[in-house]
C-alpha cells in the first residue's frame, strides 16, 4: 500500500487502477460566465429640466423566446435613484440584492437632522460604484453581463443620467439608450435634447412623450421587445415608478410595405 501523503484519501491504484486525471481538469477556461442566458433588451433615459425619465419594457427573453413577460427592469435604490438594467437577468437580480444591501448600510448613518447633509448614495455615487464593480468583474474574466442606465440627481440636485456596461465603460449624455435602442431610439431622443444646454428647455411632458414614442418605435422594430413597459420619473420630490404601462396608438400600417424577408413572395 502506498503510504505517501499525496496518496491519502485516494482510491488505491492497485485495486482501482490509476485515476484518470482528465476528469479533474479541462484544458479550456470556464465558459459558463461568457454569455448571457435570460436577457432584457434596451433601456432608455432622458434628462429634462427638473429630472430624468427612464423606461424599459417588461420582457425577459430566453434567446428569441419571449419567456417572462412581467419582469421589472427598473429598480429604485435609496428612494432617490433608478437603475435600468439591460442584459442578463440573473446578474440583474444579483446587482439588485447587492445594491439593496448597500442602500440599507447607507441608511444606518442618518442625515435628516444635520443641516447641509446629503444622502451619500446619490445617483452619481451609485453610478461610480456600479462602474467600478462591473470593471472589477470583467477584469476577473467573470463579467456581470449587463448594460445599465443610472437616473437620478447628483450631489448638487441637478439631473444625472449615465451609462455603464459589462466592460466597465461609462459615459453620459442628456439622452441615453442601451442595446438596440442605441441605434433606434437614440437619434429620436437627440432630436429633442441635442446637448446639455437644451435640457433646460425640455419639460417633463415633452420628455415622457418622447420616451414613450421611442418605446413604440422599439416595439415595432426590435424583435426582443414587448408592448408593456415600465417608466420612471426621478425629480427632487422622489421617484414615480409605473410598472404597468402599455403602448398606445400603435399603427402597423407601415408593415405591409416592408419587403424582402420572411415567407412573403416579393
Amino acid at each position: 500500500m502506498d503510504h505517501r501523503p499525496q496518496a491519502w484519501g485516494r482510491p488505491r491504484d492497485d485495486v482501482y487502477g490509476a485515476y484518470d486525471a482528465s476528469y479533474m481538469q479541462t484544458n479550456q477556461p470556464n465558459q459558463h460566465t461568457q454569455s448571457p442566458i435570460v436577457t432584457g433588451t434596451s433601456v432608455l433615459g432622458m434628462k429634462f429640466k427638473d429630472g430624468v425619465v427612464i423606461a424599459a419594457d417588461n420582457l425577459a427573453s430566453y434567446g428569441s423566446l419571449a419567456r417572462f413577460t412581467d419582469v421589472k427592469r427598473l429598480r429604485t435604490f435609496a428612494e432617490s435613484s433608478v437603475v435600468g438594467f439591460g442584459g442578463d437577468v440573473s446578474d440583474m437580480q444579483y446587482l439588485d440584492r447587492h445594491l439593496t444591501e448597500l442602500a440599507i448600510d447607507e441608511a444606518y448613518t442618518s442625515t435628516t437632522t444635520t443641516p447641509n447633509a446629503q444622502p451619500t448614495l446619490n445617483a452619481r455615487n451609485l453610478h461610480k460604484y456600479l462602474s467600478k464593480l462591473l470593471y472589477h468583474r470583467r477584469s476577473k474574466f467573470d463579467p456581470l453581463w449587463n448594460s445599465l442606465l443610472v437616473a437620478g440627481l447628483d450631489e448638487a440636485g441637478a439631473p444625472f443620467l449615465a451609462a455603464a456596461d459589462l466592460l466597465g465603460t461609462t459615459f453620459t449624455s442628456p439622452s441615453l439608450a442601451t442595446g438596440f435602442g442605441s441605434m433606434l431610439a437614440q437619434p429620436i431622443m437627440r432630436g429633442l435634447v441635442p446637448d446639455e444646454a437644451s435640457v433646460a428647455q425640455v419639460t417633463r411632458e415633452q420628455a415622457i412623450n418622447c420616451v414613450r414614442e421611442c418605446m413604440k418605435v422599439l416595439f415595432y422594430r426590435d424583435a426582443r421587445s414587448l408592448d408593456s413597459y415600465s417608466l420612471a420619473v426621478v425629480t427632487k420630490d422622489g421617484v414615480e415608478l409605473s410598472e404597468n404601462e402599455k403602448l398606445e396608438n400603435q399603427s402597423w400600417a407601415f408593415a405591409d410595405r416592408i419587403k424582402g424577408y420572411g415567407t412573403q413572395t416579393v
Binding site: A60, F68, T69, D70, V71, K72, R73, E79, V89, M92, Q93, Y94, D96, R97, T100, E101, A103, I104, A107, Y108, S110, T112, T113, T114
Partner: protein
C-alpha cells in the same frame, strides 16, 4: 438584597439557592440608571423616543445618535450602558442582513426580537461573559403590501398552482428585551430612569384601543419623555425621536428620524404641558397655605 456577599453574585453561571441569577439583576440596575427610552405602537406606525443625557457641554448638539436603524423598516433604542447598546444594534443589523441573505426578504419585527432575545439570553449562561447592561426597545413596521422577494423578477402565475393567496399581513411591531433575554410585545414600552412615570403616562393613552394615530403618538412620546425627566430636572438632555409609518404614511414604511419641524413642535407642546402641570401644582400648594 439579603443574599449579597454570599458569593452567589460573583458569576453568571451560578444560581443562588433561592433560584436567582444575581448578575442579571445587577444588569437591570445598570439599566435603571440610564436615560429614559419610550416606544409607542399605534395603528399606523411606531414611534421611538429617548432622553439623551448631555454628559458634557463640549459634545456637539445632535451628534452621537442613540436610536439606530437596523433595516429599512426597523429601529432600536435602548437604556443603560451605551457601548452595550452599540453592540446590540450591530448584532441586530447582522441578524437582519443574514435573514435577507437566507430568505431574500426583510426580517419581521417579531423574528428580530426573537433572534436578539436569544442572543441576550446566551450572555446569562457563561462564566466568561456578563449580561448586557441594557434594556432595548425594537420598533418596526412589517410591510402590509404584497412585498416582493429581494431581486425578484416577475410575479409568477396569478391563479392555479403556484398562484398567490390574497390575505392581509404585516403591521406595526414593538418589543422590549431585558438583560435576561426575556422579551414581550407591547402597545407601549418604557425603560430607564424615568420608566415608572413613563409607564403610568403610557397606560393613560389606552393604546390597545388603537385610536391614537402616528402624529399624535410622536407628540405623546415627546411629552412622556419630558414628564419622566421631571424628577431630575437639573440634568440637561436632548430629545431624540424616530418613527416608522405604514406604506401610505409619512415615512412610507421606513425607519427614519422624526423631521425637525415635527420634533420641534412636539418639544414645544411637551414643554407647555409640563409647565401647565407645574403651575397647577404650585396653585394647589398656595391653596394649602391659605387653608392653614
Amino acid at each position: 438584597m439579603t443574599s449579597i456577599g454570599t458569593g452567589y453574585d460573583l458569576a453568571n453561571s451560578i444560581f443562588s439557592p433561592d433560584g436567582r441569577n444575581f448578575q442579571v439583576e445587577y444588569a437591570v440596575k445598570a439599566v435603571e440608571n440610564g436615560g429614559t427610552s419610550v416606544g409607542i405602537r399605534c395603528k399606523d406606525g411606531v414611534v421611538l423616543a429617548v432622553e439623551k443625557v448631555v454628559t458634557s457641554k463640549l459634545l456637539k448638539p445632535g451628534a452621537n445618535k442613540r436610536i439606530a436603524t437596523v433595516d429599512k423598516h426597523l429601529g432600536v433604542v435602548y437604556s443603560g450602558m451605551v457601548p452595550d447598546g452599540h453592540h446590540f444594534a450591530d448584532r441586530a443589523r447582522d441578524e437582519a442582513r443574514a435573514w435577507r441573505e437566507t430568505f431574500k426578504t426583510p426580517i419581521s419585527t417579531s423574528d428580530l426580537a426573537s433572534r436578539m432575545g436569544g442572543y441576550l439570553q446566551a450572555y446569562t449562561l457563561y462564566q466568561s461573559v456578563r449580561p448586557f447592561g441594557i434594556t432595548a426597545i425594537i420598533g418596526g413596521f412589517d410591510s402590509e403590501l404584497e412585498s416582493p422577494v429581494d431581486g425578484e423578477v416577475g410575479s409568477g402565475p396569478s391563479i392555479g398552482a403556484g398562484g398567490k393567496v390574497q390575505g392581509s399581513h404585516g403591521g406595526p411591531g414593538l418589543y422590549m428585551i431585558e438583560p435576561s433575554g426575556m422579551y414581550w410585545g407591547y402597545y407601549g414600552a418604557a425603560t430607564g430612569k424615568g420608566r415608572q412615570a413613563a409607564k403610568a403616562e403610557l397606560e393613560k393613552l389606552n393604546l390597545s384601543e388603537g385610536k391614537l394615530d402616528l402624529k399624535q403618538a410622536v407628540k405623546e412620546a415627546a411629552r412622556i419623555i419630558y414628564v419622566a425627566q421631571q424628577d431630575n430636572k437639573d440634568k440637561e438632555f436632548e430629545l431624540e425621536m424616530s418613527w416608522i409609518s405604514n406604506a401610505d404614511g409619512p415615512t412610507k414604511g421606513r425607519h427614519v428620524e422624526v423631521p425637525k419641524e415635527l420634533l420641534e413642535e412636539a418639544e414645544r407642546l411637551a414643554k407647555k404641558a409640563i409647565s401647565e402641570d407645574d403651575e397647577e401644582e404650585e396653585g394647589e400648594e398656595e391653596d394649602d397655605k391659605m387653608e392653614e
